[in-house]
């Protein structure tokens, strides 16, 4: 495999992606909502508003719904401090798993299924680029931007959280070990899972939209995490993150094995024919 050819495919696809607002818009707007708008609405505005009576209340009712180890972390905090702490470190965490999945699936759908839809696949396959070079170039063009967006969103989110926590708790909260594992361990695996699933789907569907819709299936386990956290049934602690790394690692291997097998000129063009 020639690195220069992988870079060439990456660059061509990147030029296409960055000129398409249908792709750029969700890739920019959704992370902005998760990293900036929602945290400000949920944490920053209430914490900066005039002192309410709830601040003086004992946070026992809030703490009771949480696992023991988290409850201990909240000992001695006011309700508002506990709210900022829980929201910052736990509530928003699953949303940062949606970002790499959404970004990678949208870009991969355009790169794989979109190329098929626009009927440019045949001339691309007629070049002396190997299946591996084409595959890797296209995987990277979905993976790299989705991780850049995720990491940048995390940095922006951390800044907002730390500003709020410094005001309310007199200390900064991020980054911590769980979030580092989440952003640099789980998020890349989720991005790869999104790409792997999209590659598999793209060989079978007619176009970009269809591929994108089906690959959204991976959102289901992540939404389960969101609702699990909201109900207090589960929190993204070190144990859950370790499990996620293991589960998505295995899923990536499986999806990529199938993806590589299905990404063959013969296979794809026979279906177009």
């Amino acid at each position: 495999m020639r690195a220069s050819k992988v870079r060439l495919v990456f660059w061509k696809d990147w030029l296409e992606v960055k000129r398409n607002w249908q792709i750029l818009l969700p890739v920019i707007v959704i992370p902005f909502m998760f990293a900036v708008v929602l945290p400000i609405l949920v944490m920053a505005i209430p914490s900066l508003s005039p002192v309410s009576t709830s601040q003086q209340e004992d946070p026992a009712s809030l703490i009771r719904a949480l696992p023991d180890d988290v409850s201990q972390e909240l000992q001695g905090m006011t309700a508002q401090q506990a709210l900022v702490y829980i929201m910052s470190l736990y509530f928003f965490a699953p949303f940062f798993l949606v970002v790499p999945l959404m970004a990678s699936s949208v870009i991969a759908s355009d790169s794989f299924a979109g190329e098929k839809e626009r009927k440019t696949m045949e001339t691309l396959f007629a070049t002396p680029l190997s299946d591996g070079e084409l595959f890797l170039g296209k995987v990277l063009v979905a993976f790299v931007p989705s991780m850049v967006v995720t990491v940048v969103s995390f940095l922006v989110y951390s800044t907002i959280v730390n500003m709020v926590s410094y005001v309310t708790l007199s200390r900064i909260l991020l980054p911590n070990t769980v979030w580092i594992l989440l952003i640099f361990g789980v998020a890349p695996e989720i991005a790869l899972a999104g790409i792997g699933l999209t590659v598999m789907i793209s060989t079978r569907v007619k176009g970009f939209r269809e591929a994108q819709q089906i690959s959204a299936l991976l959102l289901i386990p992540i939404l389960m995490l969101v609702f699990g956290q909201l109900s207090g049934a589960m929190l993204l602690g070190p144990a859950v993150v370790a499990w996620l790394i293991a589960v998505f690692g295995i899923l990536d291997v499986l999806l990529f094995q199938i993806g590589i097998r299905t990404f063959k000129r013969e296979e794809i063009l026979s279906k177009i024919a």
């Binding site: 000129r19 009927k119 696949m121 045949e122 001339t123 007629a126 070049t127 002396p128 063009l269």
Partner: protein, 311 residues
């Protein structure tokens, strides 16, 4: 020595046989036409020869390389123009050309720039090199697609409908280019087309296929000769007169005279048109007829094509 060879090439998609035991060869520097109706198997044949899909049976060689074992080598020496222009609409013509030039191995930047400029200049697209291809007309896209096909100077070209979507002037430019590539630069060209005019003007040999099978192969002249229609002599008269028809019928080689009174024209079928024409003209003139024009009309490739395709 043949540059393209197909030996019992077969492609099946499930129960459908798209190409059925197709055998032919294309010699170096030859323009070979592949004719047939939609769904005849032309595109599938080209895809097998371009190593895009594997044959179900049979074998083929392109530029001396086996289409099954040496696919990468074949891709390097073949330029393919597909049915659709297959261009990246969000990229500029220059970016499209540059991508394919690099994909085909033109790594030297100076050489690449110079080749791209040469081709975009030739197709009058240099001034539009930084515009998005998506805004181009169908004809401009087709020109750019042809330029892209030629970017790595491939010795073998597989062209699917190269003049499709082009205005008459541009179509002529492309025909002249194909002719020049074949005659001056010795490119071997396989031309799939519905435009029988293109086949007639450019191809030294043509093959008509239908439902994946070969119907006939030969030079355009050979195919024309195989039709039931014979060469005719058309004579336009200033004034039509029955006596002139009788005079022509008396010529020994003449087998049939058809009269088009409204246009004052005689359509004459004779055994040896080249040799009998002077005698026919002489008889008309001696009989007092005034001739406006004389032409020898051969059956067209279109007539031959329709005859073979319809059976």
């Amino acid at each position: 020595m043949p540059r393209i060879e197909a030996d019992a090439l077969t492609k099946r998609f499930g129960s459908l046989t798209a190409v059925d035991r197709l055998s032919f060869d294309v010699k170096e520097g030859e323009v070979f036409g592949l004719l047939g109706p939609n769904g005849a198997g032309k595109t599938t044949t080209v895809r097998m020869l371009a190593c895009l899909i594997l044959p179900s049976e049979g074998s083929g060689r392109v530029g001396g390389h086996d289409i099954i074992k040496d696919s990468m080598k074949i891709r390097e020496i073949v330029g393919i123009l597909t049915e659709n222009p297959s261009l990246y609409d969000r990229l500029t013509p220059y970016e499209n050309m540059s991508f394919f030039a690099q994909a085909y191995g033109l790594s030297d930047q100076q050489q690449r720039r110079s080749r791209i400029r040469e081709l975009l200049d030739f197709f009058n697209l240099w001034e539009r090199r930084n515009d998005k291809v998506g805004a181009f007309s169908k004809g401009m896209k087709q020109k750019l697609a042809i330029a892209r096909t030629l970017v790595h100077e491939p010795p073998i070209l597989l062209l699917d409908e190269p003049t499709s979507g082009l205005d008459p002037e541009s179509a002529k430019e492309i025909r002249d280019l194909i002719s020049s590539l074949s005659q001056r630069e010795n490119h071997t060209i396989l031309l799939c087309t519905h435009h029988l005019e293109d086949a007639e003007r450019l191809c030294s040999r043509v093959m008509i296929i239908n439902r994946g099978s070969r119907i006939i192969i030969g030079t355009p002249q050979e195919l024309r000769n195989r039709t039931s229609n014979k060469t005719a002599i058309e004579i336009s008269l200033k004034v039509y007169d029955l006596r002139l028809v009788q005079a022509v019928e008396e010529v020994e080689q003449v087998s049939e005279v058809t009269v088009d009174k409204s246009r004052g024209r005689l359509v004459i079928t004779a055994e040896d048109p080249d040799n009998s024409t002077p005698e026919i003209v002489r008889r008309i003139v001696y009989s007092g007829g005034e001739i406006l024009s004389v032409s020898i009309v051969q059956p067209s490739l279109e007539e031959a094509y329709l005859k073979f395709v319809k059976g």
